[in-house]
């Protein structure tokens, strides 16, 4: 009973908070903090309950699927919920005291931006939680739209011409993506009369429309995930937003649409997942890793490096499809590959948020994020530098870190499957990420007479450090999240089907 209540609270509290911050704009920071604390407690209760009693499921309003909407907390959902909660708590703490708007010049802008920041951040969180918990494809669509709209507004919150242009570019991709997804969903409904993931899985017939629907849904979600070659909008959007907004955008937003893809291909239509489709998705992921890393190597601005690194890191997530999807889903290594993707998504989320917050602090200190102007910052701000290096370790996949666990699991799956191409991609991606992350670290560590820097409080510096430590801890104590992830995972059901 406690678990069910906690589930409802996790889904509804951010929405209530968003409304409250609109009503009491001046106290937005305080309300957001209170909401974040309550959601964290509810989430903790929910995790304990699920760890003891297994998957918790509720039918909203007592209406069963297909008419009603089912909310379910399984291991995968809890893992992603926990990641968003950690990142959101960090971002909300970081943005306290009007930090978010202070990076923007001009007093008028400051007022508008600080007023808009809190409701948008909480709406983003509400959308994420709705997507992670929902079992209904149309409900997920509504969540996805809410997420997109909040994210676009956060990109544009600075009010500068570049950030509005970035938001506009992003918006065009997102609008097209959501239409494709909606069309796919309507075709699925027309064929099977239900949008519940489990009922679609249990459908007895496979209509021709299913293939079209799966293609449309996948294409729409790829546009929103910014997978290569649809990545063009991501770097300007993520690098032009203020630091706390960038952290949310880069760490959380692409994960939501990837999460839907994961649910869709592994839980709704695993029977449609043939090897060609899975390899196609994996191939796009591999190209994203290579292209994103090479682009990150060429950038001279720290935030653009971090943003292109997101393009590359999203690619790793898609390697789960050729390694665990299709014919491989019944193989013993599928569990490892599937868990690896979740581990990677979570450790990347934590590390990337830490990196963007570090970049934000450095920008406060020196007033810009050009690499050549950041020399000597390691001496001025050792704590932030330490956090950045820890986060970089996770992204490169050095032990001990969550990123290492993810890469290790994925590599072992690739070896077991005998698909050496993915091993090559994984190793090359790791080396490339070491190269592009070494550049900013080398600049920061360069010994040089200290430039005049603005003092940044240690309290703010501690926030990215805690996030980076959490990403490291995920590797040190990987057993607990690994066990949690296995609760209600899809292969048990698809194994029975064989």
């Amino acid at each position: 009973m406690n678990g069910e209540l906690a589930l409802v609270l996790v889904a509804t509290l951010p929405l209530v908070g968003a409304l409250l911050t609109v009503l009491f704009g001046l106290r937005g920071g305080f309300i957001a903090l209170a909401v974040a604390a309550s959601i964290s407690i509810a989430l903790f209760v929910l995790i304990l309950d699920v760890a003891q009693g297994g998957v918790i499921e509720i039918a909203v309003g007592g209406w069963e699927a297909p008419l009603g909407i089912t909310l379910r907390a399984d291991g995968l959902a809890l893992a992603f919920l926990t990641m968003s909660a950690l990142v959101m708590v960090a971002v909300i703490l970081f943005a306290q005291g009007g930090f978010a708007p202070r990076t923007i010049a001009g007093k008028m802008v400051e007022k508008r931006a600080s007023y808009a920041f809190w409701p948008l951040a909480l709406l983003l969180w509400a959308a994420l939680n709705a997507i992670f918990l929902s079992r209904d494809l149309f409900n997920i669509y509504v969540g996805l739209e809410m997420l997109t709209l909040a994210a676009m507004a956060l990109v544009a919150i600075g009010g500068k011409a570049e950030s509005i242009a970035a938001a506009m570019r992003c918006m065009m991709f997102a609008l097209l993506g959501s239409l494709l997804y909606l069309l796919g969903v309507s075709l699925l409904y027309a064929a099977h009369g239900t949008l519940d993931i489990d009922q679609i899985f249990a459908r007895t017939t496979t209509a021709n429309a299913d293939f079209v629907a799966a293609g449309l849904i996948t294409a729409g979600l790829l546009l929103k995930t910014a997978l290569f070659p649809f990545h063009a909008w991501l770097p300007p959007a993520h690098s032009n937003a203020p630091a706390p907004a960038s952290a949310m955008l880069s760490a959380l937003v692409p994960k939501a649409s990837f999460y839907i893809l994961l649910r869709f291909w592994f839980e709704a239509v695993p029977d449609l997942a043939n090897q060609a489709v899975m390899w196609f998705l994996g191939g796009l992921g591999a190209l994203a890793i290579l292209f994103g890393s090479l682009m990150a190597l060429r950038q001279m601005r720290l935030k653009l490096i971090i943003a292109y690194s997101t393009v590359a890191q999203i690619g790793y997530l898609f390697l789960v499809f050729p390694l665990a999807g299709g014919d491989y889903s019944a193989q013993p290594w599928a569990t490892n590959a599937w868990s690896a993707a979740s581990f990677h998504a979570i450790s990347h989320g934590l590390a990337k948020a830490a990196m963007f917050l570090c970049a934000g602090l450095w920008i406060v200190a020196v007033g810009h994020d050009r690499l050549d102007g950041m020399k000597g910052l390691a001496q001025a701000m050792p704590m932030t530098t330490f956090a950045f290096v820890l986060a970089a370790m996770t992204l490169i996949g050095l032990p001990p870190s969550g990123g290492f666990t993810a890469k290790y699991l994925m590599l072992s799956a690739a070896f077991s499957a005998g698909d050496i191409i993915w091993v090559v991609i994984l190793v090359a991606g790791g080396l490339l990420s070491a190269a592009y992350l070494y550049r900013p670290i080398a600049f920061v560590f360069e010994r040089k007479a200290l430039q005049t820097t603005v003092f940044v409080s240690h309290r703010l510096q501690a926030i990215p450090l805690i996030l980076a430590l959490a990403a490291t801890l995920l590797g040190l104590a990987s057993n607990i999240p690994f066990e949690l992830l296995q609760i209600g995972r899809p292969f048990a059901s698809s194994g029975e089907m064989e």
């Binding site: 709209l149 676009m152 009010g159 011409a161 506009m168 309507s186 075709l187 063009a232 050009r370």
Partner: protein, 113 residues
């Protein structure tokens, strides 16, 4: 035999096609937002037609409920998109986005200064 549902469905598909054409062909941002709405209307029409069951049963109400939700979502998206178009026009005086790459060049120049 062509049923009325099929005619509605085909019309929906045609509207989606027109909208998609407009979305791809125009670079003016407002026109693109309008094209998005045309595609959306086509999808709603198609979805509504799919809800048709038989002359006796009539229409399945679930697609109608979903369409209404979809319209609300499309309306909010349009509102945000138009607000962005207006803000962009105010900030730059332009109604189109710069070509890919052009934006990066201006950024680089700004960095060099």
């Amino acid at each position: 035999m062509i049923t009325s549902a099929m005619i509605f469905g085909l019309c929906g598909a045609a509207v989606i096609g027109i909208g998609l054409y407009g979305f791809v062909i125009h670079r003016n941002l407002l026109r693109r937002v309008l094209a998005f709405n045309v595609i959306g209307s086509g999808i709603f029409l198609l979805f509504g037609a799919m809800g048709y069951r038989s002359p006796i049963l009539g229409a399945d109400p679930v697609p109608q409920a979903l369409i209404i939700t979809g319209i609300v979502v499309a309306l909010s998206a349009t509102a945000l998109a138009v607000a962005l178009v207006v803000a962009y026009a105010r900030a730059t005086g332009q109604s189109t986005l710069p070509e890919d790459g052009a934006e990066h060049k201006t950024e680089d120049k700004a960095d060099e200064r």
